[in-house]
Structure formats: C-alpha cells, structure tokens
Symmetry: C3
C-alpha cells in the first residue's frame, strides 16, 4: 500500500461511504485579508467589525465563499483527485456564521453513483458537511463529479441517483445570520440604498466591472483553500494536456462573480444557500471576468422581520461585457459564459 | 435610477458636497502581512511589536501608507470612477496611529471645482478625512482629480480653486506619533545609525535597489485597499485603450518608493505628512522601480525632544537606476521619472 | 560613510565578528495565511489550532520553514548582499516553537573564512541564531556563502574552516516540540495513517504532484521574509546578467518541496533539524517543481515515547516528475535536480 495518495477511482466509491477528510483548518483575519486582496470584495458586514457589531454580529464573519472554498478544498484528495469534471452543486446551505479563529473540518457521504455508458467514468454524488471546532455544522452541500475508473472492466456499482432539490425554500434559510437590527444597517456605509423590497423578480443587473485573472492569483487562492486538484498548479503536465494550460478552480470564478456583484447587490450581504451552479466553460489566466445577475425571487423569511432573501442567478462571462445579459446562444450557452449560479442572498428589509 | 454605481461626472459635483464613502474596513495583522509581502518594507516600528513597545507604542502601528491607501480607496467609487487623471495631493496629515483591529471610514468634502477650457472635463478638489471606530481623525488630505463630463453642454459650475498649502509646517506634525523614548530606539535593530541631526538639508541619497512589478502584485494590492478604479484591473478594456494595458495604482508606486527608501532612511519610521505628490508618468507591470531622495529640511518639532522631522523629496523612476539622481530633462521631467513626492517623516533625535 | 548599506565584502569580515541583524519581526496569523497561500502546506498541526491543542500545543505553531526564512532574511543585508552563491547549510536546529505574535530577531557570528585561490572571492561561514521576544533561541544554524572581494589586492584573512557536523544526532532533536499525546494525534484528520515505525530506512517516496512557480509568488514570499537579496527582485539588472532573469530564493524551493512532501510524509509534522542542504541548480519562474524523498534513518528520541524522528533526504527537480527518483547522472547531479536536502522531521510513534 503506497504512502502517497493516489486518489479514489470510480470503482473505489461505495454508496453510503463516509469520508472523514484530512486537514482541519483554523481560518483567521489573515485569510480574510488575502480573500479581500484576491477578489476586492466590499460587503460591509464582512469588511468592518464596527459595521457588523452595529447590526448584531459579535464581529465580522468570514466571507461565506471563503468558508465554502475551505470546506470544499478538504474533499478534493478523497473525492476528486481523479475527476474529469466537477458537474454541479445542489442543496448548499450555510448553517452557522464562521469567525476568525474558528477551525473548519469536513466529512462527506457518498449518496449516489452512476457509471457512464462508456464504462470509462462514472458520476459520484457526495454530501459534504463542514463543521466548526464546537461540532456545529456550518455548511452542508451536495456536489457531483465525474470520476475516472482505474479499470474499465471493473463492475459497475448499483446505480443510485439521489433526489436533489432544485432550490432551497425560504424557510430553510438564515441559520448562519443572527437576527440583525435593520435600522442600524447603514446603507450609506454599505454602498447602496436598496433593500429587500427595492428589488423585483425578473430584473436584471449588469455588474459593469471586469477583472482580469493572473496565474499567480488563482494559484494563491486555491492553495489558500488547501485545494490540491492537480490541474490548477502544474503547467508541466497541463501544458501537454487538453487545454495546454492550467485550469482555474471553479470556485475562484464564483468568488470573482460575487465580488463583482457588489455593484448592484451591495446589501445582499450574506449567501444563505446555493441552489445550484454550473461551470459552463473553463477560465484561464489572462481572461477578464464580467458578470450580471437576474433576480429570480424576492422573499420574506418566515418568522423574521429583519432580513429577507433574494434568489439570484449570477452569470459570469470571460472577455465579454454583460450589458446585454449574455446567457444562451440557441439551445447552448453563449460561448462567453463560464458560470451559471443560482443562490439565495439575505438582505435587510 | 440604476442599482449600479455609474460614478459621478464633473457636473454632478457641487461645491460643499459632503460624500460619506462606503465600505468601512477593519485593518488587521493580515493586512500588515500582505503589505510586507507586497513591498518588503522593513521599518522596525511597524515590523516588530517588541521594538514598538520598547519605545512607547502599545504595539506596532500599521504602515502609514497602508492607512493612506485604505482611506483613499473608499473615495474612488464616489470621486474618481470617471476620472481621467489623478492630478495631485496636498496638505496630507496623519493624525492618529492606526493599529490592527481598528476600523477605518472616509468622508470627503468637495472644496474646489474648475471646468477645463475644452469643456469635456473639469478638476474636482476634495478634502478627505479618514476616521477610526472611535471617531478620531487618522488622516486628512486634499486631492484633485480630472473628471469627465457626462455632457459637454452641461453648464460649468462657478469656478473655485482652493488655496492649498505648499507644505505643512513642523508644528503641524506628529499627532500620529506618541512620545517615544529615543534612548530605547535601537538603531542597530532598526538597521541604520543615523538620527535626525545626521542628515543635512540638500543631501541626496540613492536608494540603490530596484523592484520589478508584476500584474498580480499591483492588483492584489489595489484590491486589498478596496480601490475599484477600473483601469487597474480590466485588461479586456484597457487592452483597447490608450496604453494597451492596465495602469498601476499610483499609491502602489508611493509604497514601493517608500520601501526602497529604507536603504538610507531606515530610522525615518513614520510619515507624518505628505506635502504634495505628482504621478509624473504611468507605471506598468514588468517595469522595475528605483528611487532616490533629497533631504529638503531637517527640523525640530515644537515641544518635542524625542523626534524631529525630515522633509524629504523622494523621486521614483522606472527602468532607470538613480545613482545620478535623475529628475529633470530641460523643463520637463526626465522620461524615466514616475513619481515626485514631497513629505515629512519623523526620525528619532 | 554612506547612509545606504553597500553590504560587506569578503575582506570586511573578521573571524569572531558578531553581527546583530536589523529588523526584528513579529510573525502573525497573517504570515501563516500567506505561507499557506504560497505553498499550499497541509500539515495538520500547523493548519489547525484545534488539532494542535488536542495533542498538547497551546495553539498551532508557525511553520518551521516560515521561521527559518524570517530568521535567515535578516542576515542577508549583513552577510550576503554581495554574495555570489549560497553554498550550504549545516547544523540547523529548531529549538523552541514559534507562535503567532512572537517577535523574531537574529544575531550571527563569523565562524570561518577562506579566500578562494582566484583572490576575487572568499567563503564566509556564519552561525546565525534566531531568538524570540523572551530571548529564547528558536533556531540555530550555520551557513556558508561565497562573497565577492571589494578589492582583489586586499590581504587574505587567516584561513579558518570550521568543523561542521554532517548531521545532528537524535538526542539533539525535539526541543521545539512539546511532549505530545500520540493517542490524540488523529491520523485520519492528519491525512495519512503511517507513524514512525511504518517507515523503513532506505525507502523512497515520490511526492507525485508538481507546482509551477510565478514571478509574483516568489517575490511575495521573499519580501514576506524581508529578504533583500537583489537577484530575486530586479529584472532590469538581472535581465542583463548571467541568467537573463530573476533567480528564485533557494528557501522558496525548500518550502515548495516540503509542502509537496506532505503527500507521503503527512505525519512528519515538525522539522527538528536540517543536517545539510545544497541548492544544486537555480529555479526560475515558469518552472514546475517536483520532489521525492528517501528515508535515511528511523530513530527514537532518547527519553521520549511520544514522537520519533525520520531522517529524510528530499530532492526537488524542475520540469521533471520524480517517479524514478532522479538524483545523479554519473558523478554529477541529474540536470533536473535543484535541491538536495537532508533533514530530521518528527513524527508520532
């Protein structure tokens, strides 16, 4: 048995397997500073302890996506080291705030398996749960990923495709957001005057700005998350591969799009849930990322009169401004589209 | 009214306008670590809590220019999103030390307006004030910037050019520096033996070293400061623009020059004021920055026998060593010069 | 006497000279976050306060190599500013753990001098000692470096080559590691099940993964350590030099190799000593670093039943996977080899 981790192949997964992932991680203000430097994020609750305290947090929580990336990164050595593609996310809920000094760990369960008809690969569905040092669940999500088989002749497992929610419901949102004082939420300091009911379902917002990505940046980010997927780091090997270059971690694109979305969604300060997401096309260093969003729903949260939720579809493109809200070209995605993300964000009422 | 910020155009400013800028920011040891990684700064007071405590600080203050950049960054969405050029600074005073954990906010007042004769642009003068979470002013400065008009036909505002000081006076300096114990200031640990009276007005110092700048570095820095000026980040758009590439934030150049100036000015540990500064030419990734300084004045501070002040002119160049103190070529600047900065730094007596 | 530091030339060193280096440095969680972002290191003790506490640390110590680089960086302005080559290390011991908030300082003693026969250069041997704010020694090592003479005609000092240990002995190891509870050390969370006695002398481990290095990354790292060696930063000058480009700090390579070695040595959580190391060939931006290790010895530590020590030879290459353990080509190193490092790491029993 080798001392190095070869990663699991498709036939190594069994339905119900419980994978306790390595590398618990204490997240700090150092990580928060790097996150700001990597994406330029400006949401006031995460940027200012004073702002966060004024509305009812004990101090600034860490950015939700930083938490997501750290929890996700731990799953890579056990789930996706031999992955061909990260296919999707569903049912992702943020369940407790994470503060500097908290330690994050991740455990996953294999909840679905489906061999592909080519017998060379299969789809693995895992539910991953991130917890803090007190054992509280901070994040719970499902992802599915296409994984290579070690041996094409290996027998296929019994097929099981889990039922996954298309979207979370409003009554499932908000556990990671303490009750805030919406009067104390200063929209001038937050950068935009619009609250929950200033948005209407169907409206589209071009986030205007573009952000070019460098190799050093996405590698710094992906290492910060201790995500070890080989395709992001190794030009020697990737240079001989399909794209001839390193692939950028899909989560980096999500964070870039979220940071750009501040321009139009400045008060949507907390991602409460990710309903689903697709990395439609790869991003490479040198590309410039743009984004636009459509408001899919404007909802109150049962039992809460401090915040409500916007269901948002954020679409990111590369080298293509989003003034005309690019999405589809016929039945396919517009070739410039790289991300199609459906999530719930909380916003003061 | 759009939900995204189009930025103010020249005709949107009114004399006396008070602009409360968004995005309060808690600055931390994470920001300090990044600042060190970005510039390699080595001033002992900011580098070592033990050194800072020995001379009378409660702990290491954050680098003055990190404070400047964070306070400045907040003004960009309201002042210079449609700027053509950042023209100058004046009357910049550091008024209270900033420590990790402090939260910075910025408010500006429009103190001058002058339409250009081409009617396409105008100059806006703003006084910006940075405060901490206790409401103490930490920084106060004036900058002026050339801003596009939305509509050339828009009427010009009444012209008002504020009287600005050419330089601060010694009795205006030192509020951000607690009284220190100059005996406890260890010049061996600080890296150089020269104190206030070892400098003489007129002397020139070549800072010797050169630092090449990469795209990833200046973008990380500028995002760290939550400075959103588009020209720094978007190669897709800038590639089609005047220079064909991203411009580096002028403040990045100031920080590079200041860090290089350690070699010769190691004990000038605190920037007390910036009298004025000009970004003479743009810097681009791939260029190597050099710097030299001239001591303009050596002054005691009224009522203080712990520290005095050096008035320093620091000149930065690109791709041009500074052994012969390059500055002018005829009436113009030497084409290699990119920064001409006039400031006061405190140094132990 | 100039105000800038010209660096010492060979004839400026005297046997027995004591060099108190400048720039004490408080290391923080911000530095730790950057270290993670730069190398992707995953050792659980350094990654998680909760994990560290469970086994007996008060909290996560900083990575040993971060400590090494910070202590080393301070010696550069006094020892190696005019160095031609960093020739080797010996007798390097980590003697106390370093935690976020500690302040590091370095003092060196000149323990050997030997002029080269060409009379243009000489070898300087220094013993450098890093201490924390309490005066405890945290690191003690010898390095030797080839330094230019200012004047070829300057008389040679009396030659003295110090006797240096080939390797530390097991009874010299472990001072920087508190007694831990090996039962509480969770190998699942640490990422690998192998403890001390699962390794055997002679076995080789390919660390599999490759990491490409960008200019921005190695410069950020080297500045973080306040290492001022000119060859790492100045493309203007280096572009005209021997290699036509910036050289990457050798310590950056050591950290990359150590981080890669997690894959196979995940429980070897603490570097207790470096017996010796050679930077066999330079690394440049764009190269991809691979690594493999051989276990040279498996030792118990006298008086300790919690941890033992692996003596490890880690070899790093550029643009060359290590599945066949490349090392020598005839009498010389394989041209792909860039680092040959011999060290002791502690691992739970």
């Amino acid at each position: 048995m080798p001392k190095t981790n070869p990663g699991r192949f498709f036939e190594d997964f069994r339905l119900g397997d419980r994978l306790v992932h390595a590398t618990p991680r204490t997240v700090t203000t150092g990580d928060a500073a790097l996150y700001t430097a990597l994406y330029g994020t400006r949401f006031a609750v995460q940027s200012s302890d004073a702002f966060a305290r004024a509305i009812g947090y004990p101090k600034s929580p860490l950015d939700d996506l930083l938490v997501f990336h750290v929890v996700f990164g731990k799953t890579v050595p056990d789930v996706s080291l031999n992955a061909v593609a990260n296919l999707g996310y569903a049912g992702c809920r943020f369940l407790a705030p994470v503060y500097p000094g908290d330690t994050l760990s991740t455990v996953s369960e294999v909840i679905g398996l489906k061999e592909n008809s080519n017998r060379k690969t299969g789809v693995v569905y895992v539910r991953s749960v991130g917890t803090n040092q007190h054992g509280d669940t901070v994040l719970d999500y499902v992802r599915w990923v296409m994984v290579r088989k070690r041996d094409e002749a290996a027998p296929a497992p019994e097929e099981h495709v889990p039922a996954l929610p298309k979207a979370l419901e409003p009554d499932q949102l908000g556990d990671a957001c303490p009750v805030i004082d919406p009067e104390a939420y200063d929209t001038v300091l937050a950068g935009q005057r619009h609250r929950l009911n200033d948005y209407v379902a169907g409206e589209c917002i071009d986030h205007v700005d573009g952000m070019t990505v460098e190799e050093a940046e996405h590698m710094l980010a992906t290492r910060l998350y201790q995500n070890t997927a080989k395709v992001h780091f190794n030009q020697f090997t990737e240079g001989q591969g399909r794209f001839g270059r390193r692939l950028i971690y899909g989560g980096h694109v999500i964070s870039l799009a979220r940071a750009l979305s501040f321009n139009g969604l400045a008060n949507a300060f907390h991602i409460a849930a990710i309903n689903g997401g697709r990395h439609v096309a790869p991003l490479f260093a040198g590309n410039t990322v743009f984004a636009w969003s459509q408001i899919l729903a404007v909802e109150e949260l049962p039992g809460r009169d401090d915040v409500g939720a916007l269901r948002i579809r954020t679409v990111a493109t590369k080298d293509r401004p989003c003034g005309d809200y690019p999405l589809k070209a016929g039945d396919d995605y517009d070739p410039a589209v790289i991300l199609d993300l459906d999530y719930w964000a909380l916003i003061p009422r």
